[in-house]
């Protein structure tokens, strides 16, 4: 922690910002230079960075963080429906709602630690998911999902299907058809959407970096290290944990809001526990407890998902056309298991391989490589970056 000076942190942040903003160009050669995918890099990167503040620093493994993502999305869409399609109020409101929700769930769940904590968070997330599909349909529109709709003509009887957008109306914004979210007139789909998310990502990274370097961050790492000592050192870990939980919930809410900004449709499937599992994977893959790792993990998984799920038999045959016919068919048959609809198989294997061989994630892998090159015994066992 002390190994990094303020100057090094600023340099890191500047490089990170430059990289993120230039992704449309730099990642074009590997086929990732289009907005839909890069938006996902930024949004899930934020989700994972926030998750890591809880899991990476305190070691508390939440299996229910997708609930906050979902709540963020719903909150944002409601702002679009009731107030304005401007993205800023939606994002702010979503972050606040997700934070409140996280405070309530965290307050209860943090009474327990270890696997009990994981099960409690899972239970709360599953409850939210199930309720979103059933009783809370007036708020979530159930399976159809919550959407931005046409403005109501005359008195409103059904807020799910008739929007009011009080603020926009008051400002005299003219609407033709169903409007899309915008930032003071710039429509938030495609590239502008990406840049909006990218700026949020950079801000999120900056805040995470401050937290990592602060007294608060050190207390969180102390919680992971030895709670007994911390107790007898005069520190009450509970409020620190709750603060970390709420902050990471707010990151998730922000990610959820951004998903709604680029595509204003919120569905409950975002809250399912598989989605919670995905953010765990992203964090682990990149490197738990590191600054950059979670973003890398998120980007890699979204990239791999995109590549692998797009490959079909035709592409495989073309790739392996140089093989003799019989062998070609066999290879395509086997490779076909892992791509297209079988992408999840690759994901599962990736999951296992990482946990088995590289528990520290990609960041540890880089570190090992660096050490191999430098061949200098590093007394500093620091894993930040």
């Amino acid at each position: 922690m002390f190994g990094k000076t303020a100057r090094q942190d600023w340099i890191f942040l500047a490089i990170f910002a430059a990289f993120v903003l230039s992704m449309p160009v730099t990642l074009a050669p590997i086929g990732a230079g289009y907005p839909d995918l890069l938006q996902k890099f930024a949004i899930y990167g934020l989700f994972a960075i926030g998750f890591n503040i809880l899991f990476g620093l305190t070691g508390y493994l939440s299996f229910g963080h997708a609930a906050f993502l979902g709540v963020g999305s719903y909150a944002a869409v409601w702002v679009f429906k009731l107030l304005t399609v401007n993205a800023v109020p939606a994002v702010i409101f979503a972050v606040l709602v997700a934070g409140l929700f996280a405070a309530a769930i965290g307050y209860v769940s943090l009474r327990r630690a270890g696997i009990y904590f994981s099960i409690l968070t899972l239970a709360f997330a599953q409850m939210s998911y199930n309720l979103a599909y059933s009783v809370l349909t007036p708020l979530t529109n159930g399976e159809t999902g919550l959407q931005v709709q046409l403005l109501a003509q005359g008195p409103v009887t059904d807020y799910i299907n008739q929007d009011v957008r009080i603020l926009d109306q008051w400002l005299g914004v003219k609407e033709v058809g169903v409007p899309s979210p915008s930032l003071f007139g710039i429509e938030m789909s495609g590239w502008p959407g990406f840049y909006f998310a990218a700026v949020m990502l950079i801000a999120g990274m900056f805040i995470a970096q401050r937290i990592f370097r602060s007294s608060f961050g050190m207390m969180l790492r102390a919680i992971k290290s030895n709670q007994t000592r911390l107790n007898y050192t005069g520190v009450n870990p509970r409020p620190y944990l709750l603060a970390a939980f709420v902050i990471s919930g707010m990151y998730a809410g922000l990610a959820g809001a951004l998903l709604a900004v680029i595509d204003p449709l919120a569905g409950a499937e975002r809250m399912q526990w598989t989605a919670s599992g995905e953010v765990v994977l992203m964090t682990i893959l990149g490197g738990v407890g590191t600054l950059l790792g979670p973003f890398l993990g998120a980007a890699l998984i979204k990239y791999a998902e995109n590549i692998f799920s797009a490959i079909n038999e035709k592409i495989l045959h073309a790739t392996f056309a140089w093989l003799p016919d019989g062998l070609q068919n066999a290879v395509v048959e086997i490779a076909g298991l892992f791509v297209g609809k079988g992408w999840h198989l690759t994901l599962g294997l990736l999951f296992m391989l990482i946990v088995i061989f590289l528990p520290g994630g990609l960041m540890e892998g880089f570190e090992r490589l660096m050490r191999l090159f430098r061949r200098r015994g590093g007394a500093h066992a620091e894993r930040e970056g």
């Binding site: 050190m218 050192t233 603060a243």
Partner: protein
């Protein structure tokens, strides 16, 4: 002198087993008070009753006139009581300097303070103090090492330093030299003597008579769950009851 720590009529049993009964003790300010006794005499139980890990069935424990029983460990620490464990409890994954910063911050900021923006390294006064204490316990060269890499003796020294940085009014030491070599033990005794000059009240629970007689001003002997003798080291050494408890050590 006034008693800082006062234990009155403490009883504790586990099921049918009486671990402590009619335990009374006054620890005077600035003194080094050793509690000795054969294995199973109830020393650890007593200590755990002091620091909030166990709740006695009966009796009171007061520190500077304020009751300790029912308080949480972090509240007890905030009152000015620090504790060294039998097996060192330190933050193994963190560096030595960080290990010291945490108790220093706990002392400065209280049980909770959300300080998520300012860099730790900007808190210069705390850094300086941490460096200073590391110097004092002889671990300054290793300040950037991860503390898991320390030897057992050094870990204990680190833990002691973590307590000292808080400037406690009362320091509880649970077998501070257990498992140490003779040389390490003597180093620790010297260290404890040096910090003794600062006037911190200390309660030492110890097995090793060499340590006890080198350090203690007052000794209390616990046997079969109650105190059988209090006194100056010389008085204790020649007390027949004590000799019987140790030599006839049936309860060992």
């Amino acid at each position: 002198m006034a008693a800082v720590l006062r234990i009155e009529d403490v009883h504790k049993s586990f099921g049918g087993l009486r671990a402590l009964w009619e335990v009374n003790l006054d620890v005077e300010e600035g003194r080094v008070h050793a509690i000795i006794g054969p294995n199973g005499a109830g020393k650890s139980t007593l200590l755990n009753c002091l620091i909030g890990r166990l709740t006695p069935d009966r009796g009171t424990v007061t520190f500077e006139g304020r009751p300790l029983i029912g308080r949480k460990p972090h509240e007890i620490n905030q009152m000015g009581i620090a504790r060294v464990f039998q097996t060192p409890e330190i933050f193994e994954e963190l560096t030595l300097l960080e290990n010291l910063m945490i108790p220093a911050m706990a002392k400065r900021d209280g049980a909770f303070r959300l300080n998520a923006w300012r860099r730790v390294t900007r808190r210069g006064e705390l850094m300086e103090e941490a460096e200073h204490i590391l110097e004092e316990v002889g671990l300054a060269e290793q300040r950037h090492r991860v503390s898991a890499a320390l030897s057992r003796g050094d870990k204990r020294r680190l833990e002691l330093a973590m307590c000292l940085i808080q400037h406690p009014k009362l320091l509880l030491l649970d077998e501070p030299t257990a498992g140490m070599s003779r040389a390490d033990t003597n180093n620790t005794i010297d260290l404890l003597k040096r910090i003794g000059e600062k006037g911190i009240t200390k309660v030492i629970i110890e097995h090793d008579m060499h340590v006890v007689f080198s350090l203690a001003d007052t000794i209390s002997v616990l046997a079969r769950g109650t105190f059988i003798a209090h006194g100056k080291p010389d008085e204790i050494r020649n007390d027949p009851k004590v000799q019987e408890a140790y030599l006839g050590g049936v309860e060992a």
